[in-house]
Subunit: 266 residues, 2 copies
């Protein structure tokens, strides 16, 4: 199985310009079975207003962006995970979508909103789903979700073998340092597809990553400029949770001792 | 506040030899308010039999090892966290003890046993307690506990500002890579006191660490040989959980979405 990230700069509120930029990189990843794209890939990130964000958002079931990616999946027999500015009625979600040759296969809505996203998007309401696409079981995270170790762990407990992390990271180096450790502590593959470029005062930090279940970095992008990488993996490696012949990463857990993790704050 | 680790090689089943080795390093840390020592510091690690482990174990309330450390704490007005081979009736625990000038202040029993420890020790039954010693709130972990992200998080949620990690690490580089990320993701100080030397076929990996709440390494020991480091910190920094002006590491959590973390495996 071949997995890939595409690191590039989506155009703010200009879907056609974004698709123009994206196409050559999709072609570069022609042999990929799974491609991960950055957060809010259909819209850009740093909106001047909620109105601009809403105008650039698309419904999950009626999206030109998703249509283009479905067509790519059909031609190349692949799957794409992408960040997606989703409009659902009057509500916007900072979502990620899983797309296949026959249409969208599932979505995730960012649980942990970053800074002023809180003025634009509603917090995610679809939990942390895992989707079986045949070749592998896939979980999705969006950007700032990374700083909550619970997210990686819940996806792992639900069977995720590849965690696709669509990002528009702005805090330099933090997530890129944490992601390989999350892969190692959960024994999963991770693809972090980060964007580059600047929008207003925000500069995005690139350095997209593909990491294996031992925390080894299989591919890494520069901090600036567009970049794509395709890596061959065996997703079954993520099913091996034996740290030693007598230590299983999941069955050695002590869930009864972790009750504090699910208590609401007082 | 000054915090320290002492990295050295406890002597297997020879408490007096261990104390002999330890004393000059305790003196080197004379200005420390908190000193962290390795796992099973009163007994060594790689026992030839459970019987040998039991003979080297001590009760929490009647321990020559703890007495010596209480005396040090009294002289230097400090606290010590140490790994401790604890005998409770017929049961052995791979414990950590928090020691002050007036005696032991609390203990923790390793929740996640590594490899053949499962033949010797009972799994921890005291949860993940946090102790307020005035200058800071202290949580304890023992060695392999590190690979379970739940442990760091539960201690953080209970208010730990400094997590004292007593270790006899043998998997090279894994914990040392993860610990700074755990500090960063939980915004706590961490002191990993690892041992060095070899016992039978096991070689311990040294590289003890002190890390701040941003994941910066404040002190690091070599992989081989004894070493002590004392670092001045402001423990209040661990109370600042604001990642951005609008993002609080704890109150931004979505505990209702984390239910899978506390479910028993099927």
């Amino acid at each position: 199985m071949h997995i890939a990230y595409i690191q590039f700069a989506p155009a703010l509120a200009d879907l056609e310009a974004t698709l123009e930029r994206l196409r050559p990189f999709l072609e570069k990843c022609a042999n990929a079975d799974l491609i991960v794209l950055p957060e809010l890939c259909n819209s850009g990130y740093n909106f001047s207003s909620r109105k601009q964000a809403a105008a650039a958002a698309e419904p999950y079931r009626r999206s030109r962006f998703i249509d283009v990616l479905v067509e790519h999946c059909r031609q190349r027999d692949c799957r794409v995970v992408s960040g997606f500015n989703e409009r659902d009625g009057d509500t916007l979600f900072n979502a990620a979508v899983l797309i296949g040759p026959d249409g969208p296969l599932g979505r995730y809505r960012k649980l942990h909103l970053f800074k002023d996203e809180k003025d634009i998007f509603a917090p995610g309401d679809l939990g942390l789903p895992v989707f079986d696409v045949g070749m592998a079981k896939i979980g999705m995270l969006v950007c700032f979700d990374w700083i909550f170790p619970e997210t990686w762990r819940v996806l792992t407990l639900r069977g995720a073998e590849i965690i696709c992390h669509a990002a528009n990271l702005v805090l330099p180096g933090m997530a890129q340092r944490a992601v390989p450790v999350q892969a190692m502590m959960n024994r999963v593959f991770v693809v972090t597809a980060n964007r580059v470029g600047a929008e207003g005062r925000l500069t995005f930090t690139g350095a997209s990553l593909i990491v294996d279940p031992l925390g080894e970095v299989l591919a890494a992008a520069p901090q600036e400029g567009p970049h794509a990488a395709v890596v061959e993996i065996n997703p079954l490696r993520a099913r091996d949770k034996m740290v030693t012949p007598r230590n299983h990463l999941i069955s050695d857990r002590r869930p009864a001792e972790y009750a504090a993790l699910v208590k609401s704050p007082e």
